[in-house]
Symmetry: D3
Subunit: 305 residues, 6 copies
C-alpha cells in the first residue's frame, strides 16, 4: 500500500502533472500493490484494491482518466473466473499493461491525426503543458514541417516553461508570453491547441485555468481552437448531474507570503464551452464535442456501467 500512498501524495503535490501522467502513475502504483500483496483471498485482495482506488481518487479532484483506468482494471479482476490471489495479481498486471498499451496507442493515433492539421508556416498557440500536445507537435516536426509555437507561461506553476523547453529541444521556434498577453497575439495565430483534464457529458472540456479565456479569445478572432484528448477523459458522473469538481490548490502557489486576511483563490481548472471548440482530436479521429456521449457509447460502453 506504500507505493499507492506515495503516488497519491505525489499526485496531490503536483509532482505528477497532466492527466495522462497521473493515470499512468496510478496504474503503476496499483500494479505494484498487486505484485506485493499479502492478501489471503480474492475478497481481501479486492478490498485492498478498493482502498487503493479510494486513496488515489481523492488525491486529485478532476482526474477522470485515472478513474476510468482504475475502474476498468479492478473490474477485470472482479469478472475474472480465477480465485487464486497470485493469478488475480497477474490479472491486474495484464489489465494494467493492456490499458497502458491502449493509452499509448491512443497517443500515437492522436499524434498522427493532429500532426496532419499542421502545415509548414503555421503559428500554433498553446497553454500549460500537455504531453499529448507536445507529442503531436513532435510528430509534425519529424514529418519535416516548419512551424512556430507561442506558449503562455501558465501561472501559477509555470508549466508553460516545460512546454517552451521541449519545443526548443525539438528545434521549434518558440515565443513565450504571460497568460494575459493571449489576446495581443491571437490575430497572428493559425490555430490554438490544448490538452484536457476532463470532458463532460454536455461536451464541455475541463482544462488548466485560463483555457476557457483562450477559447473565447480564439472565437472572437475566428481562430480554430482544438482540444487534444483521449476519449477516456470523459467523466461519466457528469452524465448524472455531478459537476466536474474544480480543484482549488494551495494559495502559496500564487503568493508565498501574502498579507494577512487576503483571500487567495487558486482554482486549477476552468470549463470551456463546447461551442468554442472546433474539434476534439482523439483516438477516434476529429470529432465534434456535441456528440461525445454517443461516441463513448460506441467505443467504451463500459464507462456507463
Amino acid at each position: 500500500m506504500e507505493s499507492v500512498q506515495t503516488t497519491a501524495e505525489k499526485i496531490r503535490r503536483l509532482e505528477v502533472q497532466g492527466a495522462r501522467n497521473v493515470a499512468i502513475a496510478a496504474i503503476k502504483a496499483v500494479e505494484a500493490l498487486a505484485k506485493e500483496t499479502k492478501a489471503k483471498n480474492k475478497k481481501k485482495f479486492l478490498k485492498e484494491l478498493s482502498e487503493a482506488k479510494e486513496l488515489l481518487f481523492v488525491s486529485r479532484e478532476t482526474e477522470p482518466l485515472m478513474r476510468n483506468a482504475l475502474r476498468w482494471i479492478i473490474s477485470q479482476v472482479e469478472i475474472s473466473g480465477k480465485e487464486e490471489v497470485k493469478e488475480l495479481a497477474e490479472e491486474v498486471s495484464s489489465a494494467s499493461q493492456q490499458f497502458l498499451k491502449s493509452l499509448e496507442d491512443s497517443k500515437e493515433k492522436i499524434g498522427e491525426i493532429g500532426a496532419r492539421r499542421i502545415k509548414s508556416g503555421s503559428v500554433i498557440f498553446t497553454h500549460c503543458h500537455s504531453s499529448t500536445v507536445t507529442y503531436l507537435l513532435k510528430k509534425a516536426k519529424e514529418e519535416g514541417k516548419d512551424f512556430e509555437v507561442i506558449c503562455t507561461e501558465t501561472r501559477p506553476v509555470f508549466q508553460g516553461r516545460v512546454t517552451a523547453k521541449e519545443m526548443l529541444e525539438l528545434g521549434v521556434k518558440t515565443t513565450f508570453i504571460v497568460d494575459s498577453a493571449t489576446r495581443f497575439f491571437m490575430n497572428q495565430v493559425d490555430f490554438a491547441i490544448v490538452g484536457a483534464d476532463a470532458i463532460t457529458s454536455q461536451g464541455n472540456v475541463i482544462n488548466k485555468i485560463g483555457t476557457s479565456m483562450i477559447a473565447l479569445v480564439a472565437h472572437e478572432a475566428r481562430t480554430p481552437f482544438y482540444v487534444v484528448s483521449e476519449l477516456l477523459k470523459f467523466d461519466p458522473l457528469t452524465m448524472y448531474g455531478d459537476y466536474e469538481k474544480i480543484e482549488e490548490r494551495d494559495p502559496n502557489e500564487i503568493w508565498e507570503k501574502p498579507p494577512r486576511d487576503l483571500n487567495i483563490r487558486n482554482p486549477a481548472f476552468d470549463v470551456t464551452r463546447r461551442d468554442f471548440i472546433h474539434g476534439i482530436i482523439c483516438e477516434e479521429g476529429i470529432i465534434s464535442p456535441h456528440s461525445i456521449i454517443e461516441v463513448m457509447h460506441r467505443k467504451y460502453p463500459w464507462v456507463f456501467k
Copy 2:
C-alpha cells in the same frame, strides 16, 4: 538636467508606475530643472526645456498624460510675454502647480462620481494597480459602503499585489487570483473597473496587458466594464493616424534565466475596443468613449494644436 535624467531613468525602469504618477514625476522634474537652470536667455531656456521634454518622452512609449502635461507647461512659457529666465522659471513652476492642481481636481471628481456607482454588497473586479481606481474605492468605503474587490496578480510585475494591500488597509474584503482565472470569477462580479494609460481618437483604451481580455470576458457575461481616466490621457497623435505605441519591456521580467533561443515577448499594454466599455469615468462625468474627440474639443481644445 540631472533630475530629469534620474526621473526618466526611474520611469524607464518602472520604478515610477501608473500614468498619473509618471506625469507627476515628469512635471516635478521639469519644475526642478527650471528652478536650477543656468540658461542665459529665453531661447536657451526653451532649448533646455525642449531637451528635457525629449528625454522624458522617450522614457516610456505610452504616456500621453505626461506628454500633454509637458506640452502644456512648455507652451505656457512660449506664449508668456516675459523674457527674464527667472521669471520664466517661475512661469514653469506656476504652470506646473496649476496642472498638478487640475490633475488633483480631476482625481477628486472621478473619485466622487465613481464612488456613486458602487453599492453596498457589490463585488468589483479590477486589474493591475491604478491610483485613481483605488482612490475611487477609498471614497466609496469612506461613504460607508460595504463591498468586495477581486483583483488579479497582474503578471509579470505583480502590480495587483499593491492593489490588494491597499484594499486590505482600507478594510475591504479582497480576493486575489491569477490573471487567467478572470473568466472563472466573472459571473460573480457586479462590475469591472480599470485605469487607462491612453485613449485613442477612435475611443479605444490602452491599458495594462490583459485588460482587453477582461473586457471581452465581462462583455460575454453582460457585466458592466468601466474605465477610469483623466481626459488628458487622450493621445492627439492617434487622431492623425499614429498607432499608440505598445512598449515592450525587458524579457527578464517574465523569466529571469530563460533557455537560449527562447523568444520572450513582453508587451506592457493592450487595446480595449470602445464597444466593450460601458463608460469612461472622467472629470467630466461618465461618458461614452465613442464621443471622445468632441469631448476633448469642448474641454481641452489646445491638445489639438
Copy 3:
C-alpha cells in the same frame, strides 16, 4: 368513447396542462375505452382505438409525448398474437401501465439528476409550470438544499402562479415577476431551467411562449439554460420535414372584450435554438441537444418506425 371525448375536450380547453399530464390523461382515457369496449373482434377494436387516437391527436397540436405513448400502446395491440377482444383490452391496460411506469421512472431519474445541479445558495429561474421541473426542485429541497426561485407569471394563462404556489408550499423563497422583467433579473440568476413540449430532430425545443426569449437573455448573460424533458417528447415527424405545429389559442385568453377589428395572435409555444441550451436533463442523463437523433436511435428506436 365518451371518456376519450371528455379527455380530448379537457385537453383542448387547457384544463389538462403540461405535456406529461396530457399524455397521462390520454393514456387513461384509452385504457378506460378498452375496459368498456363492446367491439366484437380485433379489427373493430383496433378501429375504435384508432378513432380514439385521432380524437386525442387533434385535441392539441404540439403533444409528441402523448402521440408517442398512444402509438406505442396501440402497436402493442397490433403485434399481439391474441385475438380475443377482452385479452386485447388487457393488453392495452398492461401496455398503458408499463408506459406510465416508465414515465414515472423517467421523472424520478430526471429529478435525481437535476437535483444534483442545484447547490445551496443558488438562484434558479423558471418559466410557466412544468411538473418535472417542480419535482426536481422538490427533490433538491428534500436533500436539504437551500435555494431561491424566480418565476414568471407566464401570460396569458398565468401558469407561473401554480409554480409559485408549489414553491412556497415546499418552503422555497420565491420571487414572482412579469414575463417582461426577465432580463432585469437575469444577472442575479445561477441558472434557468424550463420544461419542454417537444424536441425536434435539429435539437431545438418547443416550449411555452416566451421560453426562447428567456434562453436568449440567459445566453447574453452567460447564464446556463437547461431544459428538463423525457426523451419521448422528441417528435419523429420533424425528422421528415414537418414543422412542429405551433398551436394558436383563443384570443380571449389575452383580452376578454377586445375592440372590434383587433387581430389578436395567441401562439402557445415558441422554438428555442439548440445553441442556447446547455443541456437537456432527461432520463438518460444530461445530454447535448445536438445529438438527440442518435440518443433516440439508441434508446427508443421504435419511434422511427
Copy 4:
C-alpha cells in the same frame, strides 16, 4: 399647493402615464400654484415653488423630462429681475407656456422625422404606450402610408391596449400579442419603435419594463430598433455617477391576492444598451445615442448647470 398634491398623487398612482404627460401635468400644477399663490415676497414664492418641485420629484423616480421642465421654469423665476410676486407668477406662466410650446414643437418635429422612416407595407413593432410614438404613426397614416402595427399588451398595466385602440381608430391594421410572444413575431417586422422615460449619459435608454428584451430580440434578428424621445429626457444626474432609479410599483398590479410570503417584484422600467439602438429620433433629427452628451451641450447646455 392642492393642485400640486393632487397631481403628484395622480402621477404616483399611474393615472397620469408617459413621460410627456407627466411633465405636462407637473408644469400645469406648478402654473396653477403660481396663479393662486398667496406668498408675500419673492423668497417665499420661491420656497413654495421649491416645495412643489420636491413633491412632484418624489412622485415618480424616473422622470427627467418633468425634472428638467421644473428646473428650467423655476430657474427662470430665479434669474428674473422682477420682485413682485404677481409678476413672478406671470413669469412662471410664461415660462411654462414656453416650455409646453417647445415640447409641442419637439413632438411635431419628431413626428415629421419619424414618419419619413415609415414606408407603405411596413410592419412596425411597438411596446407599451408612448404618445410620441402614436403621434408619429398618426402622421405617417395621414401622409397616406399603409402600414401595420404589432403591439404587446405590456403587463402588468396593459398600456398596450391603449396603443391598440388608438391604432384601430386611425384605421391601422393592428395585431395584439402577449409580451412573451415578441421573438415569435420579430422576423416579420420591419422595425421596432418605442418611447423613452430617460436617457443616461452613457447613451442608454430607460423605458417600460421589457423594452431591453425587445431590443435584444430585434438585434438578434437584424431588425432596426428606434427610440423616440425629446432630448430633455436626458438625465444630467447620470452624468455624475447616479444610477437612473428604477421605480418599483405596487405588487398588486401583478397579482391582486397573492399567496402569503410571495416576494413580488414589480420594476417599472429597464435599461436598453446604446448598442441595441439604431437611432434616437428626437427634435434634432435621428442621432446615435453614443453622442448624447455632446448633443445636449450644443442644444441645452443649461441642463448641466
Copy 5:
C-alpha cells in the same frame, strides 16, 4: 480506359458539375470500363479498376461522393467470391446500378423532406446550382406551393444562371442578384438553402465559394440556413486529420486577359461552420451537423473502413 480518361477530363474542365453529377459520371465510366475490359484475371481486372479510380480521384479535389461511390463499388468486386472477369464485370455493373439507385432514392427522399419545409408565400434564397436543391424546389412546386426564389449569379462561372433558368421553367418567380448583394436581400428571406460538396467530421460543410458568407449573413439576420446533401458526401479522411482540399481553378475564369504580375486566386469552395447550419436535409431526415459521425456509423459504417 478511354471512357475513364474522357470522363476525368470532363470533370477537370468543369463540364460535369455538381457532386452528384460527378459521381454519376465516374460510376458510369467505371461501368463502361468493366464492360469493355480485356483483363485476363481478377488481379489484372482489379488493377485496371484501381488505375481508373486513381485517374478519377485526381480529376477534382473535393469530391467525396464520387470517392465513396468508387470505393464501395470496387470493394464489392474485391469481396466477391467470383473469379471470372466477366462475372466480376457484371458485379461492377450491378454494384453501380445499386449505388445509382440508392443515390436516386436519397434524392427522392431529400426532395420529399425538404419540400415539406416550404410554405406558400415563402421567399427562399439559394446560391450556385445544386441539382438536389432544384429537385426539392420542383417537388414543392408540384405540391402546389407558391413561393419565390432569390438566387445569386455565382461568380466566376455563373452557375446561378442555370438555377434561374430552371426556376423560371418551373414557373417560380425568380429574382437574380450579384453575389455581393446577399446581405441587401437577406432580411426579406424566409430561409436559405444550398447544396454541399463535402461534409467534414467536425460537421462543417464544403460548398461553392461564397456559401460561408451567405451562412454568416443568414445567421446575422436570424434566417434559417439549410444544407441539402446525401450523407455520402461525408469525407472519412477529414476524420483522420486531413483538411478537405480546396480546389483552386484556372485564373482565367475570373479575368480572361489579366494584367501581368497579377496574382489571381480562384478557390472553388469554402467551409461553412456547423454552427451556422440549422440542419442538413439528407436521406435520413433533417439532422444536426454536429452528430454527423454517429449518423454515418449507424447508416454507412463501411466508409470508415
Copy 6:
C-alpha cells in the same frame, strides 16, 4: 446648359465613377455653365444654376458630396452682395476653385493620415475602386512601405480591375479574387479599407454593394475595418428621417441577355452599420462614426442649414 446635361448623362451612365469624381465633374459643369451664361440678371442666373443643380441631383441617387458641393457653391452666389452676372459667374468660379481646393486638401490629409496606419508587411483588403483609397496606398508606397493588397473584382461592373491595375503600376503585390471569396481570405488580412458614397446621421456608411458583407466578415475575424471619406459625404437629409436612396442600376450590367420574366435586382450600394467600422479616416483625423453629427456641427455647420 449643355455641359451640365452631358455631365449629368455621364454620371448616369457610370462613365464618371466614385463620389469624388462625380462631385468634381458636377462642379466643373456648373463652372462651365457660369462661364458661358447668357442670363440677364442675378435672378435669372440663379434660376439657371438651380436648374443645373436639379439636373445633376437626379443623375444619381446617392451623391451627397456632389450635393453638398453644389449647395455650397450656389449659396455663395446667393449671399454675394454683387448683382452683375459676370461678377456672379466669377463668384461661381472662385467658389468652385475653393471647394475643389479644399477637396484636394482633404484628400491629401486623408492620404497622409491613412498611410500612417500601414506598416511594412501588412496585407490590406479593399473592395471596388476608391480614388481616395488608392491615393492613400500610393502615399504609403512612396514612404517606402512594402505591403500587399487583396482586391475583389466587384461585380457587376468590375471596378476592382481598376484598383488592381493601379496597384500593379505602383509596384504593389496584388491578389485579385471574386467578391464571394472575401471570407476565404479574411483571416490573412491585417485590415480592410474602403471608400464611401454617403454617411448617414446614425453613423452608417453607404458604399458599393457588398461592402456591408465585407465589414461583417471582418468583424467576425476581429480584423479592423476602416472607411476613408471626406466628411462632406455626410448626407444632412438622413438627419431628418430620409433614407439614403439606394440606386438600382440597369439589369443588363448583371446579365446581358437574361431569360424572359427574370427579375434582376441591381442595387448599387448597401449600408454598413457604424458598429462594424473601426474608424472613419477623414480630413479631421480618424474618428468614430458614432459622433459624426457633432463633428459636422463643429467643422461644417452650414450643411445643416
